[in-house]
Amino acid sequence: MGEFINFLGANLADFWTYTGFANATTGHVIMILVGLVFIYLAVAKEFEPMLLIPIGFGMLIGNIPFNMEAGLQVGIYEEGSVLNILYGGVKSGWYPPLIFLGIGAMTDFSALISNPKLLLIGAAAQFGIFGAYMIALAMGFDPMQAAAIGIIGGADGPTAIFLSSKLAPNLMGAIAVSAYSYMALVPVIQPPIMRLLTGKKERLIRMKAPRAVSHTEKVIFPIVGLLLTCFLVPSGLPLLGMLFFGNLLKESGVTRRLAETARGPLIDTITILLGITVGASTQASEFLTFDSVKIFALGALSFVIATASGVLFVKFFNLFLKKDNKINPLIGNSGVSAVPDSARISQVVGLEYDPTNYLLMHAMGPNVAGVIGSAVAAGILLGFLI
């Protein structure tokens, strides 16, 4: 009998070594708290809930402590585990192009087509990427890592994941979480910079109403856009190809079912998988490093630089424009491609100064140009460094 009780005791003691309680470290607790903060921000503050809920919950999943020596095949970094298989789409970079397919199928480029000079604002805001690249180099990262970190400034989660999976796979978790976190924090980061860099008179500029765009123009745009951008930067093909393909599905008018699938069930499925696996990839043992802290700091800086360069570029551009054709610099922030949040910020800040001046439709132009610009920038970085 005593032997049996000893056996039971030993069995339970052995079981204890497998539990999360026995394997928990301070790192796990910290990451679980960060995950809870993400969920709180998503639920209570409605900051990008579609992203922060999956990422936040993914953080909880990824940071449940377990006996890593036991070969349970449950961790995201254990080959063959379910999470590892799902993470394959992030690691090999095929989730981001599918997300871009959906984005293309839900994006209306009319604002951009009606006023194509807004494309240049989307280009200017990409300076955030290269500003952060320079600072990252100064902080001791090598060029490939610096480029992967810099892309956070493109404010485009899928692009950041795609590029970091190619250039710095070991930093991908931190880069992805940083990119999505700052995208969610766009309403906090951008307005003070916009107010700081614009004068009262500039904020009141009323822009010309955009002209109506014909169906033919909308169909031509994705075709010409693809040919032009991808001939220039073929390395951006996976992202740009899918973006423009999705848009053609939408605008052609004859593939409604395909467009609806791309912008509905498909993008939702991929968003869930991407969010949960990116969140789970923040396993404390891999994620809690000084490099991650530096990446977060650089991510914030890149957003600030991108916003500032967009706003300043509009002010500079206005010097060359006729009086009745000026651009309100409050739409400069929307050159960063956090669609449609940064455009919404232009609208909200614009209304603070003139409740009858609606900037949303104008801001959507640079906003979608930012998507193209950041994908082009990612292609350039890939082309230059690989």
Binding site: K117, L119, L120, A123, Y133, P143, V233, F384
Partner: protein, 300 residues
């Protein structure tokens, strides 16, 4: 179907007509170099898959000739998984004249005195690549190899520390990222990268801008012409006054109103899905009830 079969049969050749399989390095006289699985030193021929996709070499022919009219031909057997060469990888064939030792042992030996011509043919016997290994220049354990994997220029390897014999691996060991090293050397602060990359981003989007500026002008002109035709206006001046072809003020007012309501939460809740689809009832015997229902059997 026949085209498909032809395409699948020629697995060794790439689609663009240029071969993706190349003879990459040859060692004729092996005294103390790489050993095969039997512990023998034999001459070897290295094949390189220069593409970024796997290539199956099974069914191809390896031909060797050192005398005119005396060519031995080795058919690379099918059914061995090891004949699939991974992207940018190599495989080695032992020229020991012992094909019974396995797939990678060919049926001839390389001539150590005369030049050796080696040809790789696809299953359709189309020449994929060939090389003539010169005679008299290769002493024992030196190889005749492309300078880099797949490059056009050949050289003798094994003569110095920087030119080493590399069976089954890269002809130049890739121990650094050349592009990254260049950036680290010439662009330490990243300024060059920022300028050049921003120049490319801007030029791409400026091109798009110019093109759509032009397309926009054409489109406006066309819609104006269309509107003039519909309204029966022939005079350009009159069309301009009437703002034909431009979005009407009412449209912009409606958009602004909708935005205002959304912003202030004034919009009342209602069923947001409105579907107006024309009901099509085209007749087809396939959709006919008469044909899809069985008649009730009559009981007599």
């Amino acid at each position: 179907m026949s085209v498909f079969l032809a395409l699948t049969a020629v697995s060794c050749a790439s689609g663009d007509g240029e071969s993706k399989l190349l003879i990459n390095e040859v060692l004729v006289k092996n005294v103390a170099n790489f050993q095969d699985d039997y512990g023998q030193h034999s001459g070897w021929i290295e094949i390189f898959n220069k593409s970024y996709g796997s290539a199956n070499i099974a069914g191809c022919y390896l031909k060797v000739s050192s005398q005119p009219g005396d060519t031995s031909s080795y058919f690379i057997p099918k059914g061995d998984v090891l004949t699939v060469i991974k992207p940018r990888q190599h495989t080695l064939f032992w020229a020991d004249g012992m094909p019974n030792r396995g797939t990678f042992h060919i049926n001839c030996v390389l001539d150590t005195i005369n030049p050796n011509w080696i040809g790789l043919y696809d299953s359709g016997k189309k020449l994929l690549d060939s090389v003539t290994v010169p005679a008299g220049v290769l002493s024992a354990d030196l190889s005749w190899a492309r300078i880099n994997d797949g490059s056009k220029e050949w050289e003798i390897k094994g003569t110095s520390d920087s030119k080493y014999v590399t069976p089954s691996t890269n002809n130049q060991t890739l121990d650094k990222n050349v592009k990254m090293d260049k950036f680290e050397e010439h662009d330490k602060n990243g300024f060059g990268m920022a300028i050049s990359a921003m120049a490319v981003v801007f030029s791409g989007l400026v091109l798009l801008y110019i093109l759509f500026k032009f397309i926009g002008k054409v489109s406006i002109a066309l819609s104006k012409r269309k509107a003039m035709k519909v309204k029966g206006v022939t005079c350009e001046k009159e069309a301009k006054e009437k703002k034909l072809g431009e979005a009407q003020g009412e449209v912009i007012a409606a958009i602004s109103m909708a935005l205002h309501e959304l912003q202030n939460g004034d919009h009342d809740y209602e069923e947001t899905v409105l579907t107006i689809t024309r009901v099509k009832r085209s007749y087809s015997p396939w959709s006919s009830k008469i044909y899809s229902l069985r008649e009730t059997p009559n009981r007599r």
